[in-house]
């Protein structure tokens, strides 16, 4: 049935494209989760079939929970991700506010400098970072990871947030100034709530690479005490024998927290509380 705003062929076409993309995007994730519930023979015999009563096996999960200190690795990953996220959002928003709100000499140059990190991968500086961490005695601490990830996340955060902060009504900030609010109160109470959707966007973009990162934990904090989940999963990756059950189980478990954080933030993406403030 076709109406002025909907035509059936177009609707089918759009859904076909979207469904295809969804399948492609979800395929690897589904494979990982499916196979994590299968026995070793099941994984290699028929990797694309869901677990049957014959191939169903929780050996992967029992290995992961029994061997190694996985709860601790999770904790490390969570601490690093949440702390880095907090600092990226806080400092990113503050820098963005200064860049968008105040006129000062070198403003646009400073904005460019802060955004430069988007184009230059932080891994290029790994050797220097390692030397710095060794010199400051931060090797094998979570602090080292938090510092590096904060630096890694800031450029994008500053770039995106300063664009959004420019859209916050000047009148609102000025009304606050006339009512005697300090610049900090204006920032935290008036501006931040209004850019919350964009903060959530930045949070999602920042969080996922941090959680998934293997590089810096491997180089800066490989000790048992400070291992993150991705590094911990390497435990089952041997030179000659790889314990696929355990790896798949570990990866399936690693998806959970990041999924939960994502759901929390995506709620924020939808919520728009600006309505009613201006116009």
């Amino acid at each position: 049935m076709s109406t002025a705003t909907h035509s059936l062929p177009r609707t089918i076409g759009a859904h076909a494209v979207l469904l295809t993309y969804t399948v492609i995007a979800l395929f690897p994730v589904i494979i990982v989760i499916m196979n994590s519930f299968k026995s070793r023979a099941g994984i290699f015999g028929a990797p694309l079939t869901p677990p049957t009563p014959k191939t169903f096996d929780l050996i992967g999960y029992t290995t992961v929970i029994g061997q190694g200190d996985f709860i601790h690795y999770f904790q490390n990953s969570l601490v690093v991700t949440v702390a880095s996220l907090f600092f990226v959002l806080l400092f990113g928003a503050m820098a963005a506010f200064a860049l968008s709100e105040y006129r000062f000499r070198g403003n646009s140059l400073m904005g460019l400098y802060l955004a430069l990190g988007i184009m230059i991968p932080i891994r290029l500086g790994t050797v220097a970072i390692l030397q710095l961490m060794v010199a400051s005695g931060l090797v094998n601490t979570l602090t080292a990871l938090i510092l590096v990830y904060t630096a890694q996340g800031l450029p994008l955060a500053v770039f995106i947030l300063s664009e959004f902060m420019k859209q916050v009504s000047d009148d609102l900030k000025n009304a606050g100034r006339i009512d005697g609010l300090s610049e900090y109160t204006i920032f935290f109470r008036l501006v931040l709530p209004l850019v919350r959707p964009s903060m959530a966007t930045v949070a999602v973009f920042t969080m996922i690479p941090i959680w998934n990162d293997l590089w810096f934990p491997l180089i800066l904090a490989p000790s048992e005490e400070t291992k993150t989940v991705t590094l911990g999963a390497q435990l089952f990756l041997g030179q000659f024998v790889t314990n696929w059950n355990a790896i798949l189980a570990a990866l399936s478990l690693a998806i959970m927290p990041v999924l939960i954080l994502y759901v929390i933030f995506s709620r924020q993406l939808i919520r728009g509380i600006t309505s009613g403030a201006v116009k």
């Binding site: 009504s169 009148d171 609102l172 000025n174 009304a175 606050g176 100034r177 006339i178 009512d179 005697g180 609010l181 109470r189 008036l190 709530p193 209004l194 509380i273 600006t274 309505s275 009613g276 403030a277 201006v278 116009k279």
Partner: protein
């Protein structure tokens, strides 16, 4: 309790000079309207008075005290913004009370003042609501209420009616006029709408390109404009300007308001053809293409039937004809 002196205030953004030396005196209780085309610097001037913008040079004196270096909250002013600028996370009551709370006013005093302001603006039923739950007119009343509770020396209005629809605009305009009469406070009001300026002001300041063109009462500006710009800006429809040389006059430009022209089908000073007629009921606007004067507008009170293409004669009222020199100033 609310006088304002602006002494030679200049403001430049980089190389762009927005205010080129403004001198203005506002006495206590006056309603002053800054009017001018967009980009003339009227909003910037208001922001300099409010302290939201630093002037490049010059002094702002409120009640005899130089406030050039005083932050906005300490100047004893209140401002109403075009976009209302209500705090989205606070209720109407807290929106109105926030400024007083910041200043450390006792809670009972805040409640008393909110009570007075909300009854004045009939906002009592909405005190517990958030701005998102109010209509545009109600939001602007809350913004005005927020200014009223501060009991300021000076009210500043930055195009407060621009975001409202035509009917609400007339109502709110009336409310602001009544508010001024009741509070007897000094008010400064910025608008680009000359109708708002004429209806509200005790004194109108016409600004153009960062300079004051003329200061005066509404009728003074209408009857005795100092120059061509003010003559053209005040009054609607706009004054007709005719090249003096075409009429054989010595003045550079001759100006006649549309309502000071009479038309006749048989004889008159300027012969012309009707291009278009606007019938508004109470009056009729005719656009005439005249041989001598070019395209002019004539405003006739009441209904006047004229078809496009008809020939009419327009005659200016000699007592109400303005003569402007080459520099744009009125010739006496």
């Amino acid at each position: 309790m609310g006088s304002l002196n602006i002494e030679n205030v200049k403001k430049a953004f980089g190389p762009v000079e927005v205010l080129k030396g403004i001198n203005l005196e506002v006495t206590d209780g006056e309603f002053v309207v800054f009017v001018g085309p967009s980009g003339c610097g009227k909003s910037t001037l208001l922001r300099v008075i409010a302290g939201l913008e630093d002037s490049t040079s010059g002094r702002v004196v409120i009640d005899g005290a130089d406030v050039s270096a005083t932050p906005p909250a300490k100047r004893g002013i209140a401002m109403v913004f075009q976009t209302y600028a209500l705090y989205p996370h606070l209720t109407v009551k807290n929106n109105m009370g926030l400024g007083l709370k910041q200043a450390g006013t006792p809670a009972t005093e805040i409640d008393r003042r909110i009570g007075i302001a909300s009854s004045m603006l009939s906002l009592e039923p909405y005190l517990a609501r958030r701005p998102a739950e109010l209509s545009g007119g109600q939001r602007q009343r809350v913004a005005i209420g927020r200014a009223v509770v501060r009991e300021p020396k000076l009210f500043l209005f930055d195009e407060p009616l621009s975001n409202l629809d035509a009917a609400l605009r007339v109502n709110t305009r009336l409310e602001i006029a009544q508010l001024h009469r009741r509070l007897k406070a000094t008010m400064i009001y910025v608008t680009h709408d000359q109708v708002e300026a004429m209806t509200l002001a005790d004194k109108i300041v016409v600004l153009n390109a960062g300079k004051i063109e003329q200061i005066g009462g509404p009728m003074e500006l209408y009857n005795a404009p100092a120059n061509e710009f003010v003559a053209g800006f005040i009054g609607s429809p706009k004054m007709n300007f005719v090249d003096g040389a075409r009429l054989g006059e010595t003045a550079k430009t001759i100006g006649v308001r549309p309502e000071h022209l009479t038309v006749d089908a048989k004889s008159g000073a300027w012969k012309g053809t009707v291009v278009h007629a606007e019938h508004l009921g109470a009056d009729t606007n005719l656009y005439l293409d005249c041989e001598k004067a070019g395209l002019i507008t004539v405003r006739i009170f009441g209904v006047y039937n004229a078809e496009p293409g008809a020939t009419l004669y327009a005659t200016p009222d000699p007592a109400k004809t303005y003569r402007f020199g080459a520099d744009g100033k009125v010739l006496k």
